[in-house]
Structures are given as structure tokens and as C-alpha cells.
């Protein structure tokens, strides 16, 4: 047990691991694979599926089965991970799952992207010995972004845990017990009537097709087919770094300039860039920050471009409404300007415009429906949102192979963006982008400062500070709503002072968004983030205020940042939302 290490053997191979390691971790150091279904290293271990059971030899020579995901490695242990009994037990467990499953693989949205299917293949399941009663619960499609299909659920509990532990929302829990156990929203209510913030993290964790996108593909296809409609699409910063994964490219291979080609081939009339909206958001929110710095508060100023976070704040922390930046999200800014500035400039009737966005985010579907995101005549700024995954479906539907396409540019003005706008796609990036402008405007010494190391990387809570003039401002960028809770509680109790706070609902920011391709895990997040940083560095302009297109829009249309027209079109209000969250 010296230096807190333990020695054991796994499949007769000796291994030395830190005390407290699980058998699963110990096996991984030997490249020994153990199947899992309910295990996720970021969630509390439940040991529910029992697929990871391994054989542990007792001192008496008899054996017992223990779950590798939770059982600690101990000195002198003898473990086997793939005996005949284990294979047979795992096969039986898989069959038991299947006995209570619709088994509709061919028509299932998760066909070939399903962990249960993988397990079946791995264990060569060719028959199901058990038949009997199946649990049945109605599909819940009340939410604008997420549908629940309880019949497909295998009760691994990952959705419950990610919602509770990572997001601090707790909109779902196990209900009933024994064979009747189901995952449901409280009181069997519609998901739409709960504190669910539509972040979509549950969908990313779901090993099967129990949680799905509510698809807007048909609506978009209808608009594309309608000769009267001018269909305009915008694409979010992080999507360019993840589309490749839909074509089985490794994470972090951006296809930025191929996307406009692809979108035009599908039939979109104009291709704009949400990054432009992000540049505009830097201008508007940056000036809010400048205003508060000059006025002395209220601090912290908290970002509002993550719609999951905004809904969370309204349910759980409405006392922070005065702290929220009123600037709309980049999606809504592009949407609003398309139907006003762009329509006027090109002599198009805004009513003919059908605005589509391709987003890494399921909560954006909620955002476009918020009443404050309508033009004066009641026209919604945005008409449809497709997640990156749905975009993949659209591309497949049109037989388009993005990686092999020639490159082309986004359409001018609302498609012209800087590296700062791009940075909105990673957690901490929005704050960095804002500082690139705010610090430069307030302090000439900061003019050339582009990167803020403290705000970079994959940590869920990133703290830093910036010296503007002779004053130090405290920064905090969080991603994952449970992390937001921690920081907000500290601020509330007076334990922490923050001047500028960025909150992204999803861990890692938009590159880890609930609308991104499967799998979205640590590795894919890390590589997507690196790709975003690299693309930013390669761009000629990396500060929003230096974007000529932004200047054009202000000069021709909006006037001043935070001016009257800008305020009217690009700013929103928030209000407490029921049910109250705890």
C-alpha cells in the first residue's frame, strides 16, 4: 500500500493503481474493456445496469460478481472480466432489457447510434428468451425542443442525474418502483410545464432513443418548397466545428467554408453567419458593461446569450434579473436584422422571409418563441431552429456530402464576422470576445490584447480578472448550470465579488450544446474547443468593433450601440417564471 497505491491482478495481468480507483479504471489502464450502459464518469455512479459486473475471487476460492464501475480496487485482489459466466450474465441482462423494449431498430432515430444496439452486437444477441408484459407510457411531445419516449427508456438514470447533478435543474426523477419504475417529470406533468430549461443534456446522455429532438425539419422543408418564401439560414459558431462528425470525421475538423455551399445546394436563398450577430452582441453588451463600469454597477453583469441559462435564471434565480444583460442572443440579433435592416436594404417584404438557424442548442427552439423576440407587428424574428443533428438529417435528405464540397463565402454584411464572434461557441469565449472590445475602448493599453488565458480551457468555473485603467475587474465564466448555482449562491451570500459573469448552460459552452452530434463527450469537447481557438487565430480580424460590416449596420441603420433603435430591436426583458425552481 506504499504511496497509496494498490496492486491487483485483472485477467492474471498485474496492475498497480492509486487507492480508491474503481475496477473499471484499473481495467482501463490495462486496455481491458468492460461493457457499461449506465456508467458515466461525470455522474454519480449508480451501478444500475449490472452490465459491468466482473468476477472477484474470494479468499476462500469462491467467486462473486461485483460492478466494476463502483467497486474499489483493493490490494491483492484477483479479478476476471470475461469469463463464461460473465458473458452469459451480461447476455441475460441485455435480453432482459430487450424483453421490455420496443425493438424497433429499423425505424428508430438512434439506429446505429445506440448503446443498447452496440451491446447486442458485442454480445451476439440472436434471440430473446423472455417475453411478457412491457411497460407502457405515452410519448410526451409537449416541449418545443425535447420529446420523451418512455417505452424506449432502459432506466439507466443518466438523464435524471445530468439534469440534477450537472445542470442543477432536477426536472426529472424516477417515479414508482419495481417493474413500474419510470422516469417522469413531477406529477406526470408535461415536460413543458416544468422547470426543464431545454438544454438537451439529457438527450446527449441518453444511451437509447428515449429522449429525442422535437424536429422542425418538415417545417423547414415546407418553406424551402414554397416559391413565395425567401428562406434565409444562419449558422452558429460552434456548428462549423462539429458538422464533420456527422460524416464520421474526427471531432475538431471545421468545415466552415463548405457550409455555405451545402446550404445553397439545399435551396436556402441567403446564408448568414450567427458570428455576425455575436459581433453585434459584443457591441451592445460591451456598451452595457461600459455603462455599468462608468455608473458603478449593478454588478455582476451577466450574459444572456444562452437561452437555457436565461430560462434557468427565471425559474431559479429571478433575483438576478437586474444583473442580466438585456442584449439579445446572436441568433435573435441576426433574425431581427434580417427582417428589418436586410429586408429594407434589399426591398424584400419581411413577411416573405422564413428565417432558419442551425444551432448547437435545443433551447434555441424555446428562445425563438419568447414573446419579446417578435417584431412590432408580431412577426417572429426567427421561424425555425434546426439542431446540428437535424441539420445532419437535412443534409442526408438532400444527399449532400459536405466534406467533399468546394468552399464558398457567407452572404455579405450579415454573413461577415470576426474571430471574436466565433469565440461565442466556446465557454469563456463570449467574455473574451467582449473584453477584446471593452478593454480596447476603455483603455488604450489593452488595445491589442486578444487572449485571456484564465477564460480558456474546459474547466466548468473559470475565474480571472482584468485591469482596465487602474481598476481591477473580477471575471467569472461558468458552464453547466450546477456550476452557475454555486457561483450565484456565493455571490448572493456575499462570499464572492464578480463584475462580469458569463454563463453557458451546457458544459464547455455551445461546442457541448444539447443539439450537437452524438457522442458529445470530454474528448470531443476538448477537440472542438481547440478547433475553435485555431480558427479564431487564423482569422484576419479578431475584434468585433473592427468588423466593417458591424460599422455599416450602425452607420446605415442602427445609429449608436445601445442607442434608441438598437435598444428597441436588439434588447429584451426577463421575468420570473413558474414553477419556481429549487
Amino acid at each position: 500500500m506504499a504511496d497509496n497505491q494498490v496492486n491487483l491482478t485483472i485477467n492474471d495481468l498485474p496492475v498497480r493503481v492509486p487507492a480508491g480507483s474503481t475496477l473499471l479504471e484499473a481495467a482501463q489502464t490495462l486496455s481491458i474493456r468492460i461493457p457499461t450502459l449506465c456508467y458515466d464518469k461525470h455522474l454519480t455512479v449508480s451501478g444500475a445496469c449490472r452490465l459491468c459486473v466482473v468476477e472477484v475471487v474470494n479468499p476462500t476460492g469462491s467467486t462473486r460478481l461485483e460492478p466494476a464501475c463502483s467497486f474499489p480496487a483493493q490490494e491483492g485482489m484477483m479479478v476476471r472480466t470475461n469469463t463464461r459466466e460473465l458473458r452469459d450474465a451480461r447476455r441475460t441482462i441485455i435480453e432482459l432489457i430487450l424483453a421490455n423494449h420496443p425493438r424497433a431498430c429499423q425505424t428508430c432515430i438512434r439506429n446505429q447510434r445506440c448503446n443498447l444496439q452496440d451491446a447486442c452486437r458485442e454480445y451476439s444477441i440472436d434471440k430473446i428468451r423472455y417475453e411478457g408484459e412491457k411497460r407502457h407510457r405515452a410519448v410526451d411531445s409537449s416541449s418545443v425542443a425535447i420529446t420523451r419516449h418512455p417505452d424506449f427508456c432502459i432506466l439507466c438514470g443518466k438523464c435524471v442525474k445530468v439534469c440534477k447533478e450537472v445542470q442543477g435543474v432536477y426536472a426529472l426523477d424516477f417515479v414508482n418502483r419495481g417493474f413500474s419504475t419510470t422516469v417522469l417529470p413531477p406529477f406526470d406533468r408535461d415536460l413543458a410545464d416544468t422547470v426543464c430549461v431545454l438544454c438537451g443534456q439529457c438527450l446527449l446522455k441518453c444511451p437509447v432513443a428515449a429522449i429525442r429532438d422535437k424536429s422542425y425539419l418538415d417545417k423547414v422543408s415546407d418553406a424551402l418548397e414554397d416559391p413565395e418564401k425567401i428562406v434565409i439560414v444562419q449558422i452558429a459558431p460552434s456548428v462549423r466545428a462539429t458538422v464533420g462528425e456527422l460524416y464520421n470525421l474526427p471531432p475538431g475538423v471545421p468545415l466552415t467554408r463548405k457550409l455555405p455551399t451545402a446550404l445553397r445546394r439545399i435551396g436556402f436563398d441567403y446564408v448568414f453567419d450567427t458570428d455576425f450577430g455575436a459581433d453585434m452582441a459584443v457591441m451592445e453588451e460591451g456598451h452595457e458593461l461600459i455603462g455599468r463600469i462608468k455608473k458603478g454597477g449593478p454588478f455582476p453583469l451577466i450574459t444572456s446569450c444562452s437561452p437555457g441559462w436565461v430560462k434557468f435564471m427565471e425559474h431559479f434565480y429571478p433575483e438576478f434579473i437586474p444583473n442580466m444583460s438585456s442584449t439579445k442572443s446572436p441568433q435573435q440579433i441576426v433574425g431581427a436584422l434580417t427582417k428589418t435592416f436586410f429586408a429594407q436594404r434589399n426591398g424584400i417584404d419581411p413577411k416573405k422571409i422564413f428565417n432558419v438557424s442551425i444551432m448547437p442548442c435545443s433551447a434555441k427552439k424555446f428562445e425563438i418563441q419568447r414573446p419579446e423576440h417578435k417584431l412590432d407587428d408580431g412577426t417572429p424574428e426567427m421561424d425555425a431552429v434546426l439542431t446540428t443533428r437535424e441539420f445532419g438529417d437535412l443534409l442526408r435528405m438532400h444527399e449532400i456530402d459536405v466534406p467533399s464540397l468546394p468552399e464558398s463565402n457567407f452572404d455579405p454584411i450579415l454573413g461577415d464576422a470576426t474571430g471574436a464572434g466565433l469565440m461565442f461557441g466556446v465557454a469563456g469565449g463570449m467574455m473574451e470576445a467582449s473584453l477584446r472590445t471593452v478593454a480596447a475602448v476603455l483603455d488604450p493599453h489593452c488595445e491589442a490584447r486578444l487572449e485571456y488565458a484564465a477564460l480558456r480551457g474546459t474547466a466548468g468555473i473559470k475565474r480571472g480578472s482584468v485591469l482596465i485603467g487602474d481598476r481591477e475587474f473580477k471575471l467569472c465564466a461558468v458552464s453547466g448550470l450546477a456550476n452557475a448555482r454555486k457561483v450565484l449562491d456565493e455571490i448572493k451570500s456575499g462570499k464572492e465579488e464578480v463584475h462580469f459573469m458569463e454563463v453557458m448552460a451546457c458544459p464547455g459552452g455551445c461546442i457541448g450544446g444539447g443539439g450537437q452530434p452524438l457522442p458529445t463527450d470530454d474528448e470531443s469537447r476538448r477537440r472542438r474547443i481547440e478547433a475553435m481557438y485555431a480558427e479564431d487565430r487564423a482569422l484576419p480580424i479578431r475584434q468585433s468593433h473592427k468588423n466593417p460590416a458591424i460599422r455599416t449596420v450602425y452607420e446605415e441603420f442602427l445609429g449608436e450601440p445601445n442607442g434608441e433603435k438598437a435598444h428597441h430591436l436588439l434588447h429584451a426583458t426577463y421575468s420570473p417564471r413558474l414553477p419556481r425552481g429549487f
Binding site: 441482462i93 440534477k164 419504475t181 406529477f187
Partner: protein, 821 residues
């Protein structure tokens, strides 16, 4: 379990608001208790009340709903004015609970779990209520009725359909019982003792007479108190011990006690007989039991009509009433073989004292072990003694108690907890209930000693809600112990503190599993957690926590008081001491027995063998986790190791006996149905696997089984037992394993011959009328579905298509002309 909440109606939330506003130190972990109180207020849990609870306690709604749907005690639908609950315990099942339910379904026209459309009566099937000694039992509006028949319950149900709403009597508060003359009374002004803050030498003074002063008056005063507590006071003509154990109480209708009061009043003797309402006296089969002193006698099946004779002949005339004895010539308890073969150590007070009077416990060396531990021993010495005594957990697992305490004490975290597991969920088990009802202070003393040993300042007693009397007795005991300075801050002036909190379970068998119990005490769904870490390392709210069973704690004071050698003088080397069993089912002497571990011939010697006209087939130990083994094997040895070899387990001590009228396949199905219903639903083998096993068993008992099913059952049983996450799942297949091992021929006859040898499985039965039918028509009139027809004087015919196999025709035929095959 699947409940859909009723549509939101406006509930008057004011009482709930008051409840929560007045709750001292309300924490999220109180959620279950809050929901129980809310249900008391509204009769069920309306959705808006749950919403309010979530809001007021600042708990996520999802958690509140998850908890409200996990525990079977909670109802999301309104209940009827009357509630009939049919006990689905093992003993009741063996004795025909299904027939009772069938009758009630027929009379009320609703299924279990439903309420009649007029809102009058709700019918429920509930887990074992612990009245196994008088099985089959039902509970009507909270009152247990034992030894009921289909006819009786049918009549009762019809009556309830028009009966007015019952008025629930106020539960007497614990303080009502600390009355009259107690040890707390001061002899004179010199005495320092006050309720709640007794003199530091209080115990020594009252027990051993080591007073700070010995005025003659005061010495005499204390002597009087002693005489009262020991039932020796000369002021009474006699002392009558009325068994108020659940079983006797359930058959004591109308009340013998009331008859006594009436009779004494009539004779002008009011107040001249001391009545002691005791806990279970043990021999439930012959209840209601009344024992008398000083002229000792043990009277059985006492009815109110016997009371006049008892007063006249026994109390006033000094004569024994032969006809009320257990058997001719067996006058005293000690003379009855049921008792004389036992070694009643832990049960020594049960049935002999008033459990609601701490003085009676104190007068029998009560709390002296605690005194010794606190004043004379270090915590380590206490643990050493318990280890040396070889005490093993009596809840079923048999883990060495001292070792568990040692592990908890060795943790660096000094916030430690004790949990007393009183969630006796095994159907057919009522040992812990009897102890809590009969001698609660003994359990409490054990808890106090354990807390001292491991260094805990907080203890929980987790008792199942189905045991309201046990909970009430415990509350009373706790209140008294606080007054006597034995619980709370600064115990016996030693500076040691212990707070004891009673947690009421909410109807989930799995909460008997220690990690699930901890989740439940934390106010969560009772889901089992992974071990290791074990609770002794990482338990309640992450702190070291020792979970021990009621009977284990009750043994502890004996070890310290009588010594390790004495404790080890019975039992085997590996299993020392005694074990309490509850005997029920098809056996002559149902009841509560305590024997040295390794006792042989338990069923025949103490149980008295089978009732007239039947023979014992098997014995089921350890409840749904246990095994059913042939009776002769059972009588070879009862200790942890021997039972394990037989594929059985000691379990908590429930012992249900089956006879030739019990179908072992059906019996296994019953247990599997139970565990399947009680599975927490977390792990796949238990949640899904037991369901499939149950379905296979259902096919077999329906006559649709295949021989391959037996292999499939064995296979599933093996996988489930090897891979399940907690003890519930790991042991759930045991009833199937054991019946397949010892009674495989019964499975085969169901499958191959579509015959149920015991005549229990209805799908395999047919009734037909033989040629000796006299054509009286009784059967046709008795048939609930009118499927028997015929002309008077002719041979009647049963339409087997419509027959529901209830057997009523067979029962009513005076000529034995209805045959069952």
C-alpha cells in the same frame, strides 16, 4: 403502484401551512414525515398539497413526486370513508388470504386499490401486518381482525357499505402514561430529582437504595414504589396480565378488559385488581391470554363471558378454572411445553411487564447495563465485550456486531450515527414488533450502549408504519427515558449526549436493506446504494453509521449485565446466544418463541407439530429472501451455517409452516410476486428478471408451463442472485431455488400432468357433481356465479366454462357429492 394523480382541485392548504410553519428545524430529510402528516390531514396527497410542500421545503418537485410514488403508504387518490385492507403476508396467504380478497372483490364490486363509486369503501391489499398468529387477518379502518373467514368479511363489507364514517379516536399522547406514582416522585424535599433532570445518583438511589438520606419514611416510600413496579403491592387482590399483543388484541372483541372493569364495579371491587396490559405473551394460537398473580394461572382463549367466573372463582375463591387452561393440569406458563422448552432471555420481560411503564423495566435491572457502560467501561471495552460474546446481527445477515461497531469507531469522522432497523418487512415475521411492543426500553438501552460504544450522538429508530402500536410504545418509552435523564443531553450526568429520533417507514420492504434505509431517512426514495463503502464507513449523510436490528440491540444489555460467559453458554461456537422466531402457518402453536441458536425439533417440540388432520410439509425461513425446506431438514439444526448449507438462511426469524394443502409452486410465486412488487426498480436483474420469473411461474400455475421453463427459471434465478445490486435482488430467487431443489415434483406435476397436488392452483382444478347428489340445490344457491343448474331431486350439473373455482359448492354440500380434481 402505478398511480395517476387526481385532477387538481382546490385543497385547503391552511392546515398544511400551519403544520410546516410550526415544524421545528424542518430539513429536506423530513420530507417523508411531512408527507405522512399531510396524508393524515387530507386522507391522501393532493397534487396541490405536494406542490405546496415542495415550495415550502424548497425541494425540487421532481424529488417530492419521486418520493410520493415510491412508498406504498402514500396515496395520490382520495380514499373511501372506510378502508378494508387484506393482509398479504405469508401466513395469511397460506391460510387463504386470496379467498378473502376474492370475496371482498365480489361483494364490493371493485378491485384491490380501488374505491367504490359512492366513495364509501376502499379495498387494499397490504403487506404483512404482523398478525401471523391469527392468520388470515384483515384491517378495517385501522383495526386488525384475525382468524376471519370469507363469509365473515363478506358480511363486514356489506355492513360498511352503509355504515357511517368512523371517528378516529385521538391517539393518547406519551405523556398520558407517565402518570400516577413513578420513580420520579420525590420522597421528600431533600430529593434533587426533577422530571427531565434527575439527580445524578437517581438510578442508584431508586434501584439500590443508595440515597443521599435514609429517613425511615423515605426508605418505605421507595419500597412502595418498588412493590408497585414489581407487581407485589399489597394494595391489590390480584394482578391480571392481559396480553395486548397484536394477535391477542385482534381476537379480543369485545374487550375482556372492559368486562373485568364492569364485573369489579358490580362487586364494589373497583381498583382492587391491578391490570397490566402486556406485550405479546407468546402463545398467540390460544389468545386472548390472561395470566394472573399471586395465585398463578395461564388462561387461554378468554372471552368476556369468562370474566365473572374468573373474578368469582379465581380472584375471590382462590380456585383454578380448569376449562380455561392450555391443557388439563398445565396451570402456569412454565408448565406448558411451548414455554418450558424455550430459553427466554431477550423476551424475559415481554408479556410480563407493562411496556408503557419504565419503572417496571427499571425494577428488573433495566438500564443497569447502560449505567455500567457509562460509568465503568470505556467504549473500547464495550465493543470488546460484544465481540467476545460473539453476538451476530439478528436481522438475518449474521454479521458480527462488535466488528461493525469497531469499524465505525475507527473512522476519523467523529459525527457518527446509530440506526435501529425496526423495518421488519418479512411477511411472516413479528419478532421485532413483539419486542418493541412488549419491552421497548430493552431495545432503547441497547441503542444507548451502542451509541456510547461508537461515539454517536444521534440515533434513529426506523420502524415500519404498519406497526403503529410499536411506534406508539417506542414514543412513550422515549419520552419516559428523557424524563429519567437516560436520553437527551448529559445522560446520567456523564456529559454524554444522545438524541433518539423515531422515523416512520412509509411502506417499502427494500428499506429494510441498510443502504436503502439510509436513503429513506435522508428523505429520499429508498434505493439501495453500492457497497463498499459500507454504512459503518460512509452512511447517513456520508457519516459513519451503524445499522443494527431491534433484536440485536435487545441482546446488548444482557451481555454487559450478565457477562460474556453467560451469553455464550447457549448456542453454538459460531452462533452464540438465542434467537427469537415467530411461528405461523400450518402449525399447532403459532406464536413467539426464543430458543438457543442450534435448537433442534423447533417445529415439533415447541410448535406442537401439525394441527389435527394435516401433516407438515415444509418450513419457510427468512421471508421472501429465505428458502422453503422440508420440515425434517428444518428440525435438524437451526443456526446460521447449517441453514446456509441447506440453501436457506436464518433470516430475521419468521418461520412459516406449510402442509399438504400448500402448493409449493404457488408458494414460490407468492414470494416472487412480493419481491417483484417491492423491488426498488434500480437494477435490471431485480427489476426485469424477477418479473420474468414471476411470469414463468404464473404460466406454470396456469397449466401452460413447459419443461424447459424449469431450466429457464434456474438460469434466471442464478443470474439475478449473482448480479443484483443489493440483498433484496440477490436473495429474491431463493424461494424458487429451494422449492425447485426440494419440491421439483410439484413443478413437474403442474407442467406435465397439469395437476396441482395441493389443489390450490385454480386454473388446474375442476369441480364436478358425483352420482350421490341428492338434488337438494344447496350448491346452486351457494354458487356466486350461478353456474350450477338442475332440477330438485335430480343430479345437479356444474358448467365448467363459467365456474370460477371458488369451491363454495364443495364446502356447502352436506353429502360430499361435489368433487374437486
Amino acid at each position: 403502484m402505478t398511480q395517476t394523480p387526481t385532477a387538481p382541485t382546490a385543497t385547503d392548504l391552511a392546515p398544511l401551512r400551519d403544520l410546516l410553519a410550526n415544524w421545528v428545524d424542518l430539513k429536506p430529510r423530513n420530507l417523508i414525515a411531512v408527507l405522512q402528516k399531510a396524508q393524515e390531514l387530507y386522507g391522501y396527497l393532493p397534487t396541490d398539497a405536494l406542490d405546496y410542500v415542495a415550495d415550502a421545503m424548497r425541494i425540487a418537485e421532481a424529488r417530492v413526486y419521486g418520493v410520493a410514488t415510491f412508498y406504498s403508504q402514500f396515496r395520490l387518490k382520495a380514499q373511501g370513508e372506510h378502508v378494508i385492507q387484506v393482509c398479504n403476508g405469508t401466513a395469511c396467504n397460506v391460510k387463504g388470504a386470496d379467498d378473502l380478497l376474492g370475496e371482498l372483490v365480489a361483494v364490493l364490486g371493485i378491485h384491490a386499490g380501488d374505491t367504490t363509486p359512492d366513495g364509501k369503501v376502499t379495498l387494499e391489499k397490504v403487506n404483512c401486518v404482523g398478525a401471523c398468529g391469527v392468520a388470515p387477518a384483515i384491517v378495517v379502518d385501522g383495526e386488525v381482525h384475525g382468524r376471519v373467514t370469507s363469509k365473515l368479511v363478506g358480511k363486514l363489507a356489506r355492513k360498511l357499505l352503509t355504515a357511517p364514517k368512523p371517528i378516529i379516536a385521538r391517539r393518547p399522547s406519551a405523556m398520558d402514561k407517565v402518570r400516577g406514582r413513578t420513580f420520579l416522585e420525590r420522597c421528600c424535599d431533600k430529593c434533587q430529582t426533577r422530571p427531565g433532570t434527575p439527580c445524578p445518583n437517581f438510578l442508584l438511589c431508586r434501584m439500590e437504595g443508595l440515597s443521599c438520606h435514609d429517613d425511615e419514611q423515605c426508605v418505605k416510600f421507595r419500597e412502595e414504589l418498588h412493590n408497585l413496579a414489581e407487581h407485589k403491592s399489597p394494595q391489590f387482590l390480584a394482578t391480571a396480565f392481559l396480553c395486548k399483543g397484536l394477535t391477542c388484541d385482534a381476537s379480543d372483541e369485545p374487550s375482556v378488559y372492559k368486562a373485568f372493569l364492569g364485573e369489579l364495579k358490580k362487586r364494589g371491587l373497583s381498583g382492587k385488581v391491578d391490570f397490566i396490559e402486556t406485550g405479546c405473551q407468546g402463545l398467540c394460537e390460544v389468545g386472548p391470554i390472561v395470566q394472573l398473580l399471586p395465585l398463578e394461572a395461564f388462561y387461554c382463549r378468554v372471552k368476556p363471558t369468562d370474566v365473572a367466573e374468573i373474578v368469582e372463582k379465581h380472584i375471590l375463591g382462590g380456585q383454578i378454572i380448569e376449562r380455561l387452561l392450555y391443557a388439563p393440569g398445565l396451570v402456569t406458563e412454565a408448565s406448558i411445553p411451548f414455554y418450558s422448552k424455550q430459553v427466554r432471555r431477550v423476551l424475559s420481560n415481554t408479556g410480563k411487564i407493562d411496556p408503557e411503564n419504565i419503572d417496571e423495566y427499571l425494577a428488573r435491572e433495566g438500564y443497569q447495563a447502560l449505567y455500567k457502560a457509562l460509568k465503568e467501561m470505556t467504549p473500547e471495552q464495550v465493543i470488546e465485550s460484544v465481540t467476545a460474546a460473539g453476538l451476530r446481527g439478528r436481522g438475518g445477515g449474521g454479521f458480527p456486531t462488535g466488528k461493525k461497531w469497531q469499524i465505525a469507531r475507527a473512522q476519523t469522522d467523529t459525527t457518527r450515527y446509530i440506526i435501529c432497523n425496526a423495518d421488519e418487512g418479512d411477511p411472516g415475521a413479528f419478532m421485532d414488533r413483539s419486542l418493541l411492543e412488549g419491552d421497548p426500553h430493552r431495545v432503547l438501552e441497547g441503542i444507548l450502549i451502542a451509541a456510547y460504544a461508537i461515539g454517536a450522538e444521534h440515533a434513529f429508530v426506523y420502524c415500519r408504519a404498519e406497526y403503529p402500536l410499536a411506534i406508539r410504545r417506542l414514543e412513550i418509552a422515549l419520552a419516559q427515558a428523557r424524563m429519567y435523564g437516560l436520553v437527551g443531553p448529559n445522560i446520567l450526568g456523564t456529559g454524554k449526549n444522545l438524541h433518539v429520533e423515531i422515523i416512520q417507514g412509509a411502506g417499502a420492504f427494500v428499506c429494510g436493506e441498510e443502504t436503502a434505509m439510509i436513503s429513506s431517512i435522508e428523505g429520499k426514495r429508498g434505493m439501495a446504494r453500492n457497497k463498499p463503502p459500507y454504512p459503518a464507513q460512509h452512511g447517513f449523510e456520508g457519516h459513519p453509521t451503524c445499522v443494527n436490528n431491534v433484536e440485536t440491540f435487545a441482546n446488548v444489555p444482557l451481555i454487559l449485565r450478565k457477562g460474556v460467559e453467560w451469553f455464550r453458554s447457549v448456542g453454538t461456537d459460531k452462533s452464540s446466544g438465542t434467537k427469537i422466531f415467530s411461528l405461523s402457518g400450518k402449525i399447532r402453536n403459532t406464536g413467539l418463541v426464543e430458543v438457543p441458536i442450534s435448537m433442534r425439533e423447533l417445529l415439533n417440540e415447541i410448535g406442537g407439530g401439525a394441527p389435527e388432520g394435516s401433516s407438515i410439509k415444509g418450513a419457510q425461513t427468512g421471508g421472501p429472501s429465505g428458502a422453503c425446506i422440508p420440515a425434517d431438514r428444518m428440525d435438524s439444526a437451526v443456526d446460521y451455517e447449517s441453514l446456509k448449507k441447506l440453501g436457506a438462511m436464518m433470516g430475521s426469524g419468521g418461520l412459516v409452516v406449510t402442509d399438504s394443502g400448500t402448493c409449493m409452486v404457488n408458494f414460490a410465486k407468492f414470494f416472487l410476486g412480493f419481491t417483484q412488487h417491492e423491488s426498488c426498480g434500480k437494477c435490471i436483474p431485480c427489476r426485469e428478471g424477477t418479473k420474468r420469473m414471476l411470469e414463468i411461474l404464473e404460466r406454470i400455475t396456469d397449466g401452460k408451463g413447459k419443461m424447459e421453463d424449469l431450466g429457464e427459471l434456474r438460469h434466471l434465478a442464478m443470474v439475478i442472485s449473482r448480479t443484483s445490486a443489493c440483498g433484496l435482488g440477490a436473495t429474491a430467487p431463493n424461494p424458487v431455488f429451494s422449492t425447485l431443489r426440494y419440491f421439483e415434483h410439484e413443478y413437474v406435476s403442474h407442467i406435465r400432468d397439469t395437476r396441482c397436488l395441493a389443489g390450490v392452483c385454480k386454473s388446474l382444478l375442476t369441480y364436478h357433481i358425483l352420482s350421490n347428489c341428492r338434488g337438494c340445490g344447496l350448491c346452486a344457491r351457494g354458487c356466486p356465479v350461478q353456474c350450477i343448474s338442475g332440477e330438485k331431486g335430480e343430479i345437479y350439473v356444474i358448467d365448467n366454462e363459467r365456474c370460477i373455482k371458488c369451491g363454495e359448492c364443495n364446502r356447502v354440500c352436506p353429502f360430499g357429492a361435489v368433487a374437486r380434481t
